[in-house]
Symmetry: none
Subunit: 206 residues, 4 copies
Amino acid sequence: MVRTPKQQRAKTTVDAIIDASFICVAKRGSSDTTTRHIADTAGVGVGSLYEYFTDKEMIFEAMNQRFVKEVVSMIMSNTPILSKKNSDEVIRELLSKLKEFLCKNDERYLKIIRQTNSFDLRHYIEPIEKALRELLMAYVMNHPEGVKVRNIPAASYTFIYGGIFSIVNLLSDPAPPITFDELADGLANIIGHYVSKELEIAAQSS
Amino acid sequence: MVRTPKQQRAKTTVDAIIDASFICVAKRGSSDTTTRHIADTAGVGVGSLYEYFTDKEMIFEAMNQRFVKEVVSMIMSNTPILSKKNSDEVIRELLSKLKEFLCKNDERYLKIIRQTNSFDLRHYIEPIEKALRELLMAYVMNHPEGVKVRNIPAASYTFIYGGIFSIVNLLSDPAPPITFDELADGLANIIGHYVSKELEIAAQSS
Amino acid sequence: MVRTPKQQRAKTTVDAIIDASFICVAKRGSSDTTTRHIADTAGVGVGSLYEYFTDKEMIFEAMNQRFVKEVVSMIMSNTPILSKKNSDEVIRELLSKLKEFLCKNDERYLKIIRQTNSFDLRHYIEPIEKALRELLMAYVMNHPEGVKVRNIPAASYTFIYGGIFSIVNLLSDPAPPITFDELADGLANIIGHYVSKELEIAAQSS
Amino acid sequence: MVRTPKQQRAKTTVDAIIDASFICVAKRGSSDTTTRHIADTAGVGVGSLYEYFTDKEMIFEAMNQRFVKEVVSMIMSNTPILSKKNSDEVIRELLSKLKEFLCKNDERYLKIIRQTNSFDLRHYIEPIEKALRELLMAYVMNHPEGVKVRNIPAASYTFIYGGIFSIVNLLSDPAPPITFDELADGLANIIGHYVSKELEIAAQSS
DNA sequence: TATGAATGAGCATTCATTCAT
DNA sequence: CATGAATGAATGCTCATTCAT
């Protein structure tokens, strides 16, 4: 029987279960995480899992949703400040915040991403993309010349997905060929060069 | 007991098993693929799986290795021609070949990538990266001015991983926000701008 | 997950499993007894076996331990009375008790011994040997002249192991060459003669 | 297809299979010995096993029969000499021969006995018992007074089975409480005392 | 509400046996 | 005759889910 948690106690239990799910998936991956693992980690009986979730899949769904919610809120809370910086700094600071976010709690979120396949991830990634687009929007508001960049959708798509994956991949690599800062500088450069070249082209054609 | 296939019959069986593995993993993902699925798809008895592979994991390993081998051979066979084109065309043609490769056999390889998590993928991706670096090297041989680009490792890391993931992600999206060609153009532009801007900088500082 | 049975229900289940194990091993021998046989006989699901035992081997272990515990308790409960009788009667009554014990429950224990190889048996036989030695000790306390028998360890070793095996063998024989009582008399005679001859020798040498 | 080996080559193969069976069972016990183990050890293909034996059980049967045959022939070849010695020496020398037999070939036969359960053993033990009875008979021919011993069947049953099991058990014990020689002396004493006491009784009653 | 004992469908793996070569 | 690739029934064990308490 799935219940909507109304009382405070129930709310706490639901949170404990989702937390436990994060911990277990980070440790073992989702397909090696059993309901018993989650229940034990949450400190509740297996039966209680089914009081609040229809099945194991729904626990992972809730976990992924909370993960996305936290990424989005991290981006949005930084948007006002970041959007006022120049493009180089935006990238570098955003990446630095992202790294910090992924690595907190003993790299819990990074481990989650590593264990998750891209197919699953895509179901949840849209709100993150939206938050990044809003950051981009806010940036353009503060840097009006940016509006002259052509083809923003395709470019931002590449930067966003490519950027996310490059970072996750680098942070996951036990012997990375380049440092995190080199990657951050590289990405900042790529985007910076792209924008400035586009602006040049816009200037020439006017 | 694991045997090295000596007879032709045995070789055929091994190939059938790996093929079946591709088909099943593409359809259901590896953790939902059972040995029975593979055996049925391959048209052999379950026991035969264990004549040539120690366990299920080893079948997936063989599958992944063949996958990587084919990607690498696709890249390498195109390297001589691609490396002589200019950068825009290189990117667009490489991406076009990649798309074609991923989508053949009813998108078999694309499906495989979607079902594979990045953690597993990283074990196998190194030879692909190497093939792409060799393409880059060959390109630079034919376009000597390219050598003036700073920080090639960080930039190529981003282009390679970011590019791969952007494409996989786009091809996997049932309602993609941009077309494949837009993405290809976008990527070509990004790289083109990056290179030309770097060359400008190199020219100014000399 | 192995649990220590706390609730009464759980205790009942554990006992049912061990009982079922006795029945199945008596019927088919341990290597032909499957977990499904045990579960069906116990009237529980296969999964329940693994709630209380790590694996099949542990069920057999528990069974053997209970078997030994019962033999030992049978011997010990008879020790006070037996040790006061004279040697002839001790043997005959002990063997009679043993026969009764082995044959109860449709010869369950006898069948178990028949199906068990000596290698396995040896792991569990030590407590039985100890109980028999204690009976011997108690006997000597009541018959102080017995202390003059030389080489008690070697003799008792032979009597104990030889006696056990002779009886098991005889009871297992569908067409035994001698009767149980003849064997019991024979053993009593052998031991009696041995003791009396040893006492004679002791008397002469003093 | 089961063939009766007529040619010399076939005879050799059959022997190799039985030898392999001894080696494998000694190493792993019969229930952990697979047909592949036997075939590999014998240096033949699995298929060849089924040229000469209907199934795995028949290989073990042949092995047990050869085992028994060798024990019997060992006893019979020693009967003429042993039967002329006095009772003490008969026992000690017989046990010594038995030990030597069981321990040769890296304790192969001893290991076989350890791995075999008494139920299986009983099927094959009868010829051994017979050989021992014949030794007893020969002994009595040379020591006519022995005929006065009462109840020879029961006594010899106990001595034979009890003796065999005591020895096997002792040789199998990694930390035996008594030495082999102590056991041999003990057995010799027990039998010696039994016989002499019986003769005394016979003398008195005449 | 919360629990955890019980369940049994489902899985990976083994191995005696067969039969085409 | 000899081989060994192929088979698939059978096994030990797992784990998501249920339900009596």
